[in-house]
């Protein structure tokens, strides 16, 4: 039995699908496939790709370490100003990434709020370092994780936690042994989203971390630089490599964790 789909829904849904898929088709049709493997063998490309994968993964771990507790706080604890905190967390979502990069510079740059102290006290400067890339990526990706995990926590049945508490479990034990396993799929979904966002990060990275091959030049920056140099074919090929790698990894993760 086929579900009868009302036309007022079907038409915009179809247009929406085409709108999302058409640019990708443009990329695929324009790709000089023969040069794909040659490009993949170029050291600049492999360096940028490796840097992208490593920094996005570290950024995801950072987001998990900071984001899960933050999500738990938002979902389970009543505290004054909770709504404001939640609104602040979503700011990086709506902030243009370049603005995020400028904000990071003003906070963590060499002359920044905290950055000048880091520089004077420990001699640490974050811009133009791989750590800077991780920070930029984590900044834009963290809200995705927090929102996913908070949603999962709110959807989870609190009776298990209450049962654990009545059986004498501390809040920490109840969190690690009951809550975390309960919302594990939500955390995994948030982490995947977070990783994908970090992998595609461009604006905050080029503004805060700069662009230097091997240190801060991730794949999106390499794509931009290739495009800037007038090599459109090269930029298309690099875009496609990034697309294939991310889709492959996301699909593999989905089967493993999110089925």
């Amino acid at each position: 039995m086929r579900t009868r789909v009302p036309l007022p829904l079907l038409i915009p849904a179809g247009i929406g699908l085409v709108f999302l898929v058409l640019p990708l088709a443009g990329l695929l049709l324009r790709t000089p496939w023969s040069s794909l493997l040659d490009r993949l063998a170029e050291p600049e490309v492999t360096t940028a790709l490796r840097l992208s994968l490593v920094t996005a993964s570290i950024a995801t771990v950072v987001c998990l370490l900071l984001g899960v507790p933050l999500a738990w706080l938002l979902a389970r604890v009543e505290f004054p100003g909770r709504r404001i905190v939640r609104a602040l967390i979503t700011v990086p979502l709506v902030l243009p990434p370049v603005v995020g990069g400028i904000a990071l510079l003003l906070a963590l740059g060499r002359r920044g709020l905290v950055g000048s102290w880091l520089d004077e006290t420990f001699g640490i400067t974050l811009p133009f370092t791989t750590a800077g890339v991780v920070i930029a990526e984590a900044f834009v990706a963290l809200p995705f994780l927090v929102i996913s995990v908070e949603g999962a926590l709110r959807g989870a049945d609190t009776r298990y936690e209450e049962a654990a508490a009545t059986l004498g479990a501390s809040r920490w034990i109840s969190f690690t042994h009951v809550t975390l396993p309960l919302v594990a799929p939500g955390i995994a979904a948030g982490a995947v989203l977070c990783w994908a966002r970090a992998l595609g990060e461009f604006g905050a990275t080029i503004t805060f971390a700069g662009n230097y091959p091997g240190i801060t030049q991730t794949m999106p920056l390499a794509v931009y630089q290739t495009m800037e140099s007038g090599d459109l074919d090269g930029a298309v090929v690099l875009s496609l490599i990034l697309l294939i790698v991310s889709v492959t990894i996301l699909a593999a993760l989905r089967d493993k964790w999110l089925a």
Binding site: I206, Q225, G230
Partner: protein, 241 residues
């Protein structure tokens, strides 16, 4: 022919210009032209009622790519001939100014930079333009002429981005055009260095063959080449070609 007619028409003060120089004129120009072209655009608009000039400033290579991908531009002003050649629909370009590199440092030159050799010091953070853009190509030529080895911390996509890293204090020095340093004289000091004479950039300008408003574009180019235009450009620190 049309060019000289348009130039005559611009002095017509009756309101509607006789040369048909009306409507929007879209100018794609190198980032280093931002200040002077903004001024020229305003002057042009007041002497050509009915015409509006819209600018798209950026790295010359990116602008060239955008034009080749069909971005609607009437005029292209590039910071190097190479990027002009890359534009397949460019008309006949004219070199209208030249620009030279300087070392931009923070106000008061806190690190005491005196020349290119100082930029090789390991404790100095340096920003250069990426080689794909004209300021980066010029920087490479100058650095090679000086036979020094500079390891930048970042390769910026246009000259303004490199300069803003100096303004923010994130880098100690950057190689930028003299005109850019001059436009930001309140925040940065410009250190001249002899090797920059070996890396002078010629700036070509052209009306694009596919221009929607070719008449307007031609009139704007003529205005840039006119005595009024030269005055603004030399005041900004550009050299005559």
């Amino acid at each position: 022919m049309t060019a000289s007619l348009a130039a005559c028409g611009s002095s017509d003060e009756t309101g509607a210009p006789a040369d048909g120089t009306t409507g929007p004129i879209t100018v794609f120009a190198a980032a280093s032209l931002t200040e002077s072209f903004t001024t020229l655009g305003k002057q042009f608009e007041s002497s050509h009622p009915g015409a509006t000039v819209t600018f798209n400033f950026g790295g010359s290579s990116a602008l060239a790519t955008q034009i080749n991908q069909g971005a609607p531009a009437d005029v292209f002003a590039s910071a190097a001939p190479k990027n002009m050649q890359a534009v397949t629909e460019a008309g006949t370009p004219t070199t209208f100014v030249r620009n030279q590199l300087v070392i931009a440092v923070g106000a008061g030159n806190p690190k005491g930079v005196t020349g290119l050799a100082d930029l090789a010091k390991p404790d100095l953070k340096v920003a250069l333009c990426a080689e794909a853009v004209p300021c980066g190509a010029a920087a490479r030529t100058a650095v090679e002429a000086a036979a020094v080895k500079i390891t930048p911390v970042t390769l910026e996509q246009d000259v303004k981005a490199a300069l803003s890293k100096v303004k923010l204090g994130e880098v100690d020095a950057a190689l930028v055009y003299r005109t850019d340093a001059k436009a930001s004289a309140a925040d940065v000091d410009a250190i001249e260095f002899p090797e920059s004479a070996k890396a002078i950039n010629d700036y070509p300008i052209a009306v694009l063959t596919n221009a929607k408003n070719a008449t307007g574009g031609r009139a704007f180019v003529d205005y840039v080449l006119s005595a009024d235009g030269v005055k603004v450009l030399t005041a900004a620190g550009f050299q005559a070609p």
